[in-house]
């Protein structure tokens, strides 16, 4: 898997994640800045670091599961690992555009 293929898979994952909305704000989690990192490694291993708008939000587990499910279904992904982090904490400034 060369760098171009990894970059293409990263982009495919990012696009797939756009179907997941934050239920409260109603915008997709990529444009909200909730996806901190998408790392693709050799053999189609994808590692995602994500956050939620509010620490302790009851929707956190659902969002994490949704990201995991979504990434597993992206063609080319053989293994997906999703990590929920609050470092740094999300701020509204991380949104792509005003919500």
């Amino acid at each position: 898997m060369d760098e171009d293929e990894k970059a293409a898979l990263t982009e495919a994952i990012r696009n797939a994640l756009r179907m997941i909305i934050d239920p409260e704000i109603g915008r997709n989690i990529v444009d909200l800045g909730l996806i901190y990192e998408i790392a693709v490694e050799e053999g189609g291993i994808a590692r995602i670091a994500m956050t939620t708008t509010t620490r302790g939000c009851p929707a956190s587990d659902y969002l994490k599961d949704a990201v995991s499910n979504c990434v597993w279904y992206v063609p080319g992904v053989e293994y997906a690992e999703v990590r929920l982090t609050y470092e740094p904490p999300w701020t509204p400034e991380m949104m792509a555009v005003e919500g």
Partner: protein, 450 residues
């Protein structure tokens, strides 16, 4: 697991709370309690406790079981006690109301219902407070909103203890002189601990977090917010200090109360400044209806606390009208406004959380119809203002007419909550994706899914 999950019994607390709100307003409409009889009459006590315990306290308890874990980003400790606490509180309220009815002489019931009710309520509230306190203790040092909740829980236990002591004296179970003094001179502090310390201080604290969440505003702890906490805590401390003063029949209660109200006014003014700051720094262009409807409640809070600082009002002139504004304009207005959002949010989590990422789902906002809600809130607050003025003017006919409108608006808002639970408003294309879980109206989902 980083924090909170769905609180299983919160919706049951909410459903019972709404029923009690309807019952309380229904009784007022029927002319039961004040102003037809005296403020201190047993009939009025029935009404007051249905509203303060049945409606407001159950609402607050259900909300805290869901949102304390959000405030501290840790799971609830001892959540299995939420249902027993609810049963104890509801049974206690039933017995207490039965005791007041016996006291009124309307039905021949044993007066022992009073201490039974007081005891059950004390047990229920202590159990609830213990669950929430254990949850908070695991998260020290506490963030500021959680510290408000801690003060509120202390006031709840204080109010329940004083209330239990009242029932012992009122039922004749004990003729201890100290209890007799407490009943004679301690009603104000019981009410201040309950409506002010427990319900209002807790609401202020939780609202700091919820407003920031819903408005997408920065959650920085401002120095003014810390002063609000100190002022509110000190005010509650002064009210609590009135208990030994009353028991010893010493003087100073009036001065302590005056100082507590002054501190409360300062806290409310600073809190208002904090809310305006949060609103102005929001990233969300359009504040949703629950926020807009909350602003009217904040106005009622400010007005009623300002009026309570007038010595004439505290001495009894128009006091019932001010308390009405406080209970229905501030606490109930805030409660209904936040329920409007929280019910939709929790329903979304139950219904669509499990299919998120697998199918297109609606937004939380799609579960409500803000157009209808807005009209209902206008009617509600308009009716509260009219009812308050009618009480000031001692126009009982106008008061009941205003209560009729208020009750109709409340029923309309409860109808909107039911429509949200039933997913009636969600666009058909998004309503029922495969794997979606249709929530029960008010019972926990796990009951029928085992």
């Amino acid at each position: 697991m980083q924090g909170a999950t769905l609180s299983r019994w919160t919706m049951s607390y909410f459903a019972l709370a709404c029923l009690m709100l309807v019952a309380g307003q229904g009784l007022m409409l029927a002319g039961y309690g004040y102003p037809a009889v005296a403020v201190s009459a047993p009939e009025t006590l029935v009404l007051v406790h249905i509203l303060a315990i049945g409606w407001l306290s159950l609402l607050m308890a259900g909300a805290l079981l869901q949102f304390v874990p959000v405030l501290i980003a840790r799971p609830l400790v001892g959540g299995r006690f939420a249902a027993p606490a609810l049963l104890l509180i509801v049974a206690g309220l039933g017995a207490l109301v039965g005791g007041f009815v016996a006291l009124s002489g309307a039905i021949d019931l044993p007066l022992a219902l009073l201490p039974l009710g007081g005891g059950l309520l004390l047990a229920g509230f202590v159990l609830l407070a213990a669950v929430l306190a254990a949850t908070l203790l695991a998260a020290r040092p506490l963030p500021l909103p959680a510290r408000f909740v801690a003060v509120g829980l202390s006031a709840l236990v204080g109010a329940a203890l004083v209330g239990f002591a009242f029932t012992l004296a009122l039922s004749g179970t004990s003729d201890n002189l100290l209890l007799v003094r407490l009943v004679a001179d301690g009603v104000d502090l019981h009410a201040a601990l309950g409506l002010g310390g427990w319900l209002s201080v807790t609401a202020l604290g939780v609202s700091y977090r919820l407003l920031a969440m819903f408005l997408l505003a920065p959650e920085a702890e401002r120095p003014t917010s810390r002063i609000v906490w100190w002022a509110a805590s000190l005010a509650i401390g002064l009210v609590a200090a009135c208990i030994p003063v009353v028991l010893l029949a010493a003087s100073g209660v009036t001065a302590l109360f005056a100082a507590a109200f002054l501190l409360t006014l300062a806290a409310v003014l600073l809190y208002g400044g904090d809310v305006v700051h949060l609103y102005r720094s929001r990233k969300r262009k359009q504040a949703e209806l629950n926020i807009r409807a909350t602003f009217a409640a904040f106005g009622a809070l400010l007005l009623s606390v300002a009026l309570l600082n007038l010595p004439g009002v505290r001495a009894g002139e128009g006091l019932a009208a001010v308390v009405y504004l406080f209970v229905f304009g501030w606490l109930t207005g805030l409660g209904l406004a936040q329920l409007y959002k929280i019910v939709a949010f929790l329903t979304w989590l139950e219904a669509y959380g499990p299919v998120l990422g697998r199918a297109p789902v609606p937004r939380v906002q799609d579960l409500v119809d803000e157009g209808r809600g807005r009209v209902l809130f206008w009617f509600y607050y308009g009716a509260v203002a009219a009812a308050t003025l009618a009480l000031f003017a001692e126009a009982s006919g106008v008061f009941r007419a205003a209560v009729l409108v208020q009750l109709a608006a409340t029923l309309g808002l409860i109808g909107e909550l039911i429509r949200a639970r039933r997913l009636c408003i969600v666009p058909k294309a998004l309503r029922a994706p495969v794997g979606m879980v249709r929530p029960h109206l008010f019972l926990p989902t796990f009951v029928s899914r085992r």
